[in-house]
Each structure stands twice: as C-alpha cells, then as structure tokens.
Symmetry: C2
Subunit: 84 residues, 2 copies
Amino acid sequence: MNSLFKALNDQTRRQIVELLKEKDMNAGEIAERFNISKPSISHHLDILKQADLVTSEKKGQFVEYSLNTTILEDLLNWILTLKK
Amino acid sequence: MNSLFKALNDQTRRQIVELLKEKDMNAGEIAERFNISKPSISHHLDILKQADLVTSEKKGQFVEYSLNTTILEDLLNWILTLKK
DNA sequence: CAGTTATTTAGATATTTATCTAAATAACTA
DNA sequence: TAGTTATTTAGATAAATATCTAAATAACTG
C-alpha cells in the first residue's frame, strides 16, 4: 500500500492516471500534456509502475503505458473498512 | 484531494486513522501506541486535521481526536471512476 | 498560587522528492 | 551506416517532510 499511496500523492501522477483511464498512451504523448520535461514525466511513470498502477510495453521506438486498475482493489477495501 | 492524499501517504498517519476507527482517543493515548515523540504525533494529527480526516475537541486537559469518514467519499468516488 | 500533566509550537536536521539539463540507449529510416 | 526520433539514466538542486529536543501554553490539583 505504501507505494500506491506514494504514487497517488502527486497531482501530475494522478492526472496521468486519469489520462490513461481514457486510453493507452506512449511516453511522448503523455509528456505533451504537461509543462514538465520528458525526464520528469519518465520519472513519474516509473513511480506509477513501481506501484503497479501502470504497466508499460515497448512498441518499436515507443513505450506504451496502460492503467492497471486491479491494484486499486486493495485501496478500495481499505477505505471501505474505515467507513465500516 | 491533495491534502487527503498527502495525509494518507504516511504509514504512521494511516495507523492513527485505523486506531481512531475503533474509538476516539486523546493525543496522549495515540502517542503511546507509537515509538515516536509526542510532538511528532501532534504534527501528524495536524496533517490529518488539515485533510479533514480527523476532528479534535478539547476536553479539559485532553484533546480528543475522532475520525471523519465523510471526507473519504470523494476519494472513493475518484477511485471508482478510474475503475469505470 | 505552585506544581504537575497534556498538548502544541519553535527551531534544527537529515532524508525524500520533484524538477531540470545533459548524456546515454534504443529503434527507426534514408 | 549515419542521422533522427523516443525514452530513460545520471547527476545536480531546491523544496518538502518526518523526526527530534527544548520551550511554551493550557488546564487540573493540592
């Protein structure tokens, strides 16, 4: 859960997650949406991957990122038990 | 949402939330549960308050903390929309 | 009132983090 | 193969954060 909360504790990363909810995107397409350098976006993607919130697949020159929502199940349950 | 994610991005604070789920507790009782100084716990409680995840009420010498789960509604919905 | 107890505030410090530029790696294309 | 494009890695830096000790504040108690 630690890496998941860490991943979500950043506005940019949450926006990336929201983008990937709509459709898979490669690193460059994601970076275009932000006024942040590509290396920084790459770093954010890495943190999202560490949390298993996104997966990546090399497609030729590009690296395509996808959202993995299954990992949110644990978070959902944690919140629900708090609400009893 | 920013302050909420920030509040939850810490093991100690999540544990405090879990403690308060069971019952209201004063600052000292909470601090007893951790190997962390009282000022540090006080600081964590402040961050939880900023996120509106807990409320506090002065009771004589003591300050009693309670969990506020209503604020989790937004988080829950955010996660659910990701899962579509 | 003086002393004790509960909690927070202040100030310091070490660690983590978000960001950048420059360079490296990898894959495509003429 | 040489050049171009896509992405990541490396290294640096400024800001945020978690923690501590010491001091301040507030409330109870004899």
